[in-house]
Point group: C2
């Protein structure tokens, strides 16, 4: 009895290659492919796969929302594949009900085994990321600080950030100042960069 897979990745070439890789296994078959999170979520109810393998980075929006929806609405277990495997992201993924968390540094030959594990009801989490997640410094930023930093990422001036977040410019500067102090960054752009690298935004 074969495990029927839904495969989601925005890079067609990578998706096709992953499909080829998984098709080498006699007990796995890719029954649907999606280029975005929304497409994956839309396809899942019709296809009813046994398991979904989704890339985390699928603009527009992230694969995480799709993963959460697919799991919640259909009870289909989801394995997330990601390029930027940060502890904070793992945390969010687990909170969303993801059953497998696989960074792209994982050897290709192990993917099939991981899929079988997860399909068998177990979880799989990359051991390195898990270890890092256990002794990471927790995110020191507040919700508003994160929101303001998010709006900072595209290089916009403070006035524009203030409009985007519906705050007074002075308040925005205060939050930015706090975030910069906590992150020991010389400018808000450096702070936004660090926060992003940590997976906090």
């Amino acid at each position: 009895m074969t495990i029927r897979l839904l495969l989601g990745d925005d890079e067609v070439l990578v998706r096709g290659a992953l499909a080829a890789l998984l098709s080498l296994e006699p007990d796995l078959s890719v029954v649907a492919e999606a280029s975005s999170g929304t497409e994956a979520a839309a396809l899942a109810p019709a296809v009813r796969p046994d398991l979904a393998v989704l890339d985390l980075e699928m603009p527009p929006g992230d694969g995480l929302a799709a993963a959460a929806e697919i799991r919640a609405r259909l009870g289909v277990p989801v394995v997330l594949v990601t390029r930027h495997a940060r502890p904070a992201i793992l945390r969010r993924a687990l909170a969303a009900g993801v059953r497998g968390f696989v960074p792209k540094t994982t050897p290709a030959v192990r993917l099939a085994a991981i899929i079988r594990e997860v399909h068998g009801g177990r979880r799989y989490v990359d051991p390195d990321i898990a270890a890092a997640a256990l002794n990471e410094r927790p995110c020191p930023l507040t919700a508003r600080e994160l929101e303001v930093l998010r709006a900072t990422r595209h290089g916009a001036p403070v006035s524009e950030i203030a409009r985007a977040v519906h705050l007074a410019p002075g308040t925005v500067r205060n939050y930015l100042s706090g975030a910069m102090a906590k992150l020991q960054a010389p400018t808000r752009h450096a702070a936004a960069r660090t926060a992003w690298e940590q997976g906090w935004i």
Copy 2:
């Protein structure tokens, strides 16, 4: 007679998947794999592949330098695979002697055919990118402006940029001002972002 391939990609999972994809073809065989540009360049002389398939984004450094070296030293044709397929990057790739330019939006089934084309002595360039390259606006920035923008990308303050580029802070501000005007960006960070998205830095 099979075509012997050197495969370079920093993401092990993707590299393995691509290897699986290409191994499905009877006339292709992956004889070596590399995780970085330098590793690929180091492996090539010993392995002497018929063709190299390299990812453009392979930190540290880009795959472009490795591609140029492999082609120049061994005469091995190179197919570049890339996520950010910008006209400016295509231009640089062609200048480096790359024979094939494949964005990751290419259907996986066509990769083998492209490899055979290039191995047969022809070139392959993604038609969309090529078309875009023909009527793109040329980069309006000068060499120094580009250099200063490059140093801007990590969110460093002007003083630091000045040290990195060996210029007076005032001069740096002038170049940045010029670049921002040409790119119609409100801040230097926005300008650096645009320049990067265009493939200019």
